[in-house]
């Protein structure tokens, strides 16, 4: 069933696509601030999409102001308003958290889990050594962990490794 009224505005579709793709790209970063911006972009993209789902834009949906055929659908607008408020609240909370993370660590990067690292180290210790037996596997892991910006690593080492 193709209803001409339901054909979405192409420009808005392009906007949605642009917002969501940019958002997904930022979401994959390790810095919390970028993740937040990514989430906000995706959130806005989805909200615009929701607005599109109501069909063609029309007049104010108030009986007596606009003829019934020309009214826009108020339901998605009401729902989008709710969604926007929710996105706003969540963004504020995330920003506060990123700030707290910066207060504690002087960076806002998402860190590795300690127990995960312990298990990874155990797994590495169990690996058969095919090459240089004398090489200490722990050094490798420490380097790797530092690259992953782990909080257990010595901070100065960590910075150096990341910069190189």
């Amino acid at each position: 069933m193709i209803d001409p009224d339901m054909t979405p505005n192409l420009l808005l579709v392009v906007v949605v696509v642009a917002l969501v793709t940019t958002g997904v790209y930022l979401l994959l970063e390790r810095s919390l601030t970028r993740v937040i911006i990514g989430l906000v972009l995706i959130g806005n993209g989805v909200n615009v999409l929701f607005l599109l789902s109501g069909g063609r834009a029309g007049g104010a949906p108030i009986v007596g102001t606009t003829p019934v055929e020309e009214m826009s659908d108020p339901l998605p607008q009401a729902m989008v308003l709710t969604a926007i408020v929710i996105t706003l609240g969540m963004t504020a909370f995330l920003l506060a958290m990123a700030y707290r993370s910066w207060q504690l660590n002087r960076h806002d990067e998402v860190q590795d889990d300690l127990e995960d690292r312990r298990i990874a180290r155990m797994a590495a210790a169990d690996q058969p050594a095919f090459e240089d037996d004398t090489q200490d596997t722990r050094t490798d892991l420490e380097v790797e962990a530092a690259e992953a910006r782990d909080e257990t690593g010595d901070r100065e080492d960590e910075q150096e490794v990341v910069r190189t």
């Binding site: 919390l32 826009s72 998605p76 929710i86 909370f93 707290r100």
Partner: protein, 531 residues
């Protein structure tokens, strides 16, 4: 049925009112505690009343007098009422536990001024999710409970909690966005987000689009329920929160996701098109989750992995798409909410008594604290599914349902669930041996555990064991609930009544003024055909 509908909004209204009051009285710790306690006790009473009334017929409230397909409606059918009752009981027990902990610790671990209002909001969010009759309201319910959970998981803002909270919150937000995306597409495809009306309309839309919507919704709920490929966030984030918070999260939050999957799979997409996918996911969740638990050396993490693993059982029951399977899944949810919460509370006690949650540093607790040993042992065996506990009954029900289904995949899941059950037993016995039987590595100071903490944990242990005692009637209830879910029509008729609209006052207003607006073309063209 009309007489009792006033009960339906209570599980939402009471905690929210309490939250407002508690927030206003943030300077008066004792008043806050009293308010929270009273609000949650009343919620429990209302939920139990609903459990009783919903057995006689589905209760529906059109909020604000707006008729059903357009306005927000709350629906308490057997499934919702059962979920509400068990979740209220668990929330109350955890509250008592945290009150006792707060008294013992001088409220440093859980800053009461924030903790109590947030906790009440969490309870309200869970209630909205269980009661909501339309998908968008379900989304709002999710957001309410998630927002509260964000605050609770980062309580105190220590480095470790901020780390775990970041993962938890970002993942939860992504799943919410997927949910919102699914809602937007659903509205575009069907012109409604009311679940009863969707149940009528979704069969008419293009099957490809319907499958897309179904998969998007399953993806969003799958993240919340921690089904295997989407579960990595859970064991990383839960263990760092305070014990009562972890307990209530473990008990309730993932189960809200499971509830949403159950509702969507039965009411909106009854064809069972995603069942094979869900069965595979259930198998992977069970086996991989429990292998994670076996590898862990920290008891809180071990329990987090068993939580992931046992979500697989519920998905197994849901994905069988049969009445026996659904009934067993509902029973399993009830069992698992109780037992998982209990275990986390007991581990909180363990941590106080032994000074650690690492199995290397614990030891000799069976001699030092024999009552604590009993408190741990009973729910642990319950979780592993040792007869005669409710975990055994739930698993038997699921296995029975799998055998009835009889497909090779169902048999694979039956085998998987037995193996998972054995491995759960292995992981928990390992924890038991290390924490309770090995010689204590360091001397443990003698101390008394706060009576309220032990008491509430013990009450939940008793409730878990009590589920076995009432297993017959409870199974009967879940079977009736499953029957309703599979029949679908009782729900739809209760919400939309005979003329296809709920019984709010906007019914008359809209009819007197004009037909529904043209901006909702699908809706307006089909309203007449529906009834």
């Amino acid at each position: 049925m009309t007489d009792w509908t006033w009960l339906v909004p209570l599980p939402v209204v009471l905690p929210l009112t309490g939250a407002g009051l508690a927030l206003a009285l943030w300077k008066h710790g004792r008043a806050q505690q009293l308010i929270t306690l009273v609000a949650l006790t009343l919620t429990l009473a209302a939920s139990l009343a609903l459990l009783w009334r919903a057995d006689a017929g589905t209760l529906v409230v059109d909020a604000g007098g707006w008729s059903a397909p357009v306005g927000v409606n709350l629906v308490a059918d057997r499934l919702s009422a059962l979920m509400l009752a068990i979740s209220s009981a668990v929330t109350l027990a955890v509250l008592v536990y945290s009150l006792a902990q707060g008294v013992a610790d001088g409220d440093e671990e859980t800053p009461v001024a924030i903790f109590h209002p947030t906790y009440l909001v969490l309870a309200a969010g869970v209630a909205i999710a269980f009661l909501s009759g339309d998908l968008f309201n379900l989304y709002v319910g999710f957001e309410v409970l998630l927002a509260a959970s964000y605050v609770l998981i980062t309580l105190g803002g220590s480095a470790e909690r901020i780390r775990s909270g970041t993962i938890y919150i970002v993942v939860a937000l992504v799943s919410s966005l997927v949910f919102l995306l699914a809602l937007a597409l659903t509205y575009a495809a069907a012109g409604t987000v009311n679940m009863a009306q969707l149940a009528q309309r979704l069969p008419d839309i293009d099957p490809g689009v319907a499958l897309l919507l179904q998969l998007l919704l399953l993806l969003a709920f799958g993240i919340k329920a921690a089904i295997f490929p989407l579960s990595a966030w859970l064991p990383d984030s839960y263990p760092t929160a305070p014990a009562p918070v972890t307990a209530v999260f473990a008990g309730l939050l993932t189960k809200v996701g499971v509830y949403a999957i159950l509702r969507v799979q039965t009411l909106l997409f009854p064809g069972g098109r995603a069942d094979d996918l869900l069965l595979w996911a259930a198998l992977a969740t069970m086996v991989i989750g429990i292998l994670g638990a076996v590898a862990q050396n920290d008891i809180k993490r071990l329990l987090s992995f068993t939580l992931v693993s046992h979500i697989g059982y519920m998905i197994f029951g849901i994905a069988l798409s049969s009445q026996v399977g659904t009934a067993a899944a509902i029973f399993y949810v009830v069992h698992h909410i109780t037992v998982q919460t209990t275990l986390f509370l007991v581990v909180g006690l363990l941590e106080r008594r032994g000074g650690s949650t690492s199995l290397d540093h614990l030891g000799g607790l069976a001699k030092i604290a024999p009552f604590l040993a009993v408190l741990f042992f009973v729910p642990a065996m319950n979780l592993a599914g040792v007869p005669p506990f409710s975990g055994f009954l739930g698993k038997v029900g699921l296995i029975q349902a799998g055998v009835v289904a009889g497909t090779p995949l169902a048999y694979a899941l039956v085998a998987g669930s037995v193996v998972t059950s054995l491995l759960t037993l292995y992981a928990l016995v390992k924890a038991w041996n290390k924490a309770f039987w090995q010689t204590a590595p360091e001397t443990v100071e003698p101390m008394r555990l706060p009576r309220g903490m032990v008491g509430s944990a013990a009450a939940l242990v008793v409730l878990g064991v009590g589920l076995t005692a009432v297993a017959g009637p409870l199974y009967g209830y879940t079977e009736r609930a499953a029957g309703d879910l599979r029949a679908r029509l009782p729900y739809i008729e209760a919400v939309l009544t005979e003329d296809g609209r709920g019984d709010g006052v906007s019914d008359d207003v809209s009819r007197a003024a004009s037909p529904p607006p043209a901006g909702a073309p699908v809706g307006s063209t089909r309203t007449g055909d529906d009834s």
